[in-house]
């Protein structure tokens, strides 16, 4: 891009400023537009996404403040999805075994007759 370090950082800062303004504008548009007002195709999607990222940022701020107060934040209370998945698979297997056991009992009853 350039060998001049100062020029490189200036470019970076300029990019950052420009992007910052664009993102803020996108957030404003995304928040202002209801679904009935969205007629902008891909640009409207970017605005909608920016508005959602803004909401997430505000949630992150609230979480950080809560953590600073020593509270447990919501995201930390969530269980591990992978572990939950394993628990479900084990439980489902138990259900299948229950079912097989019931079928075996039925067969034994029929044989007893």
């Amino acid at each position: 891009m350039t060998d001049d370090v100062m020029r490189f950082f200036a470019t970076w800062l300029f990019t950052h400023e420009a992007a910052d303004e664009e993102i803020k504008a996108a957030i404003r548009r995304g928040m202002a537009e209801g679904p009935e007002g969205m007629a902008g195709g891909p640009d409207a999607f970017v605005d909608g996404l920016a508005a959602m990222v803004e909401e997430e940022k505000e949630q992150l701020k609230r979480d950080l403040e809560a953590r600073a107060r020593g509270e447990e934040v919501a995201i930390e209370q969530q269980s591990d999805p992978a572990l939950d998945e394993v628990r479900f698979e084990v439980a489902e297997l138990r259900g299948r075994l229950d079912n097989i056991e019931a079928l075996l009992e039925a067969m034994l009853r029929k044989l007893g007759e």
Binding site: E36, G41, P42, F88, E92, G95, N99, A102
Partner: protein, 452 residues
């Protein structure tokens, strides 16, 4: 089998004769004539038994292949049939478990709760406690619903499927079937029925559904009692509540119908866009609102599955609807198997644009059914074949919208979809592989903007 073919022809011709006067003996205007033929077909399907009732239900979700009149008529298909005598149901249970219902349950009611074409439901109570796959243990004495496949239903349906398949082969390629492939339709129908005839599949989906919504106290699914279930008998928790036809009573009892409508629509979006597996038969009889202010989902006989790739493409199509982007809708529909012939792309795109612009109700909310079913019809008019999963999903979304509107008429299902589609597509944009692929182009675009 020949006699069954004759019976089918006799019943169908008989019903067609009955509607001849209202069709003015074929001289009535097109829509009137088609409505009369559709009515005759619906009546004959109801008379011909479970296989045809199911076939009618399948036709009701394919507006791309059948006329609007036929689809509307089949949507009104009654799947309520006279109950089988209790003795026959008790015989099925005894055959399956080798014991009388009174041995298996603390109590068993002979009077059925509901009777449909494939199965009949009886109330009972558990003799001993049961720990289900997911959720709290059901105590001894807990009320359960025992769903039993009607005796002879499986054999009669499978035999009818064979007969219908032979008829479909005969009709294939004729003028009658120019808009659809009858053999493919029958094969799809056979696969659906096959799933419904093994009640364990329904039970497993219910368990999975409970697990998927384990963090959502407003969603309730009957817990399955696997020790009292087989392919022919499914025992599940009995849930009491109000059907959507009794909402006034529910409101009077303090149920928050507006909140549940939004929550129900959100729950469906979660099934489709997050999990890729969804309840595809959400008509009003399969949903309750409960005194605990929850939504109870029943009857998981018809379900839809999406591969991760299909899920992403469906999300893109929904995002196209949310953000009114016809190009995106067509691009990702193509990836879902909706191939528009080159010569038809422009008219289809124009029609899609009109649909996207015209799907607003007088109250300002978006109308998904108008868009979704209109899109299927538009594709049908241009001779575009619709993959069955695509049609089923659109119909399911339209049904969910109808159900949600019954609870809360001002709900906007498209706006409900917005956070899901936006978040999922946003996550996809952050996929490292995708970022690596697109980074050079993104840097070039950023520099271009800066230099401008």
């Amino acid at each position: 089998m020949a006699s069954r073919s004759s019976a089918i022809v006799r019943v169908t011709l008989g019903e067609l004769m009955r509607v001849l006067p209202s069709a003015r003996f074929g001289l009535a205007p097109g829509p009137v004539r088609r409505a009369a033929w559709a009515r005759a077909l619906r009546r004959s399907f109801e008379r011909l038994g479970p296989a045809f009732v199911k076939l009618g239900q399948l036709i009701s979700v394919r507006p791309d292949e059948f006329s609007a009149e036929l689809v509307a008529e089949m949507q009104g298909m009654q799947d309520a049939v006279p109950a089988v005598p209790a003795a026959a149901i008790r015989a099925v249970i005894t055959r399956e478990f080798g014991a009388e219902p009174e041995v298996l349950f603390a109590t068993f009611e002979n009077e059925p709760l509901a009777a449909a074409s494939i199965a009949q439901v009886h109330r009972a109570t558990l003799a001993e406690e049961y720990r289900p796959v997911w959720g709290e243990t059901l105590p001894a004495g807990a009320e359960v619903a025992v769903k039993v496949v009607r005796p002879g239903a499986a054999a009669s349906i499978l035999s009818d499927v064979e007969v219908v398949r032979r008829m479909a082969l005969r009709f294939a390629g004729t003028r009658v079937t120019r808009r659809f492939d009858p053999v493919a339709l029958v094969d799809e129908f056979a696969a659906t029925v096959d799933r419904e005839l093994d009640l364990r599949q329904e039970g497993r989906f219910a368990d999975r559904f409970s697990f998927d919504f384990r963090d959502d106290p407003k969603v309730q699914v009957p817990r399955i009692v696997w020790t009292r279930s087989t392919s022919q008998v499914l025992t599940m928790e009995f849930i009491t509540g109000w059907r959507l036809s009794d909402l006034e009573i529910a409101r009077a009892a303090g149920v928050d119908c507006k909140g549940l409508a939004i929550h129900g629509a959100t729950a469906f979006m979660r099934q489709v866009f997050v999990y890729g597996r969804y309840h595809a038969d959400l008509h009003p009889a399969n949903i309750f609102v409960t005194p605990q202010n929850t939504i109870a989902y029943l009857d998981f006989g018809i379900v839809g599955y999406l591969t991760p790739e299909e899920r992403m493409n469906i999300t893109q199509v929904m995002a196209a609807l949310v953000y009114r982007d016809p190009d995106r809708a067509l691009r990702y529909s193509e990836k879902l198997g909706v191939h528009v012939p080159p010569g038809h792309v422009e008219p289809v795109r124009a029609g899609l644009g009109r649909l996207l612009d015209g799907d607003v109700r007088p109250d300002g909310t978006r109308d998904f059914a108008h868009f979704g079913l209109g899109f299927l019809k538009l594709l049908g008019e241009h001779g575009v074949a619709i993959p069955s999963g695509y049609g089923l999903l659109i119909k399911s979304l339209a049904t969910v919208e109808g159900v949600a509107r019954a609870l809360y008429p001002e709900i906007d299902i498209v706006s409900t979809a917005q956070p899901f589609t936006t978040r999922i597509l946003g996550q996809a944009m952050g996929d490292p592989v995708r970022v690596r692929e697109r980074m050079p182009a993104a840097v070039r675009a950023a520099l271009r903007v800066l230099t401008e």
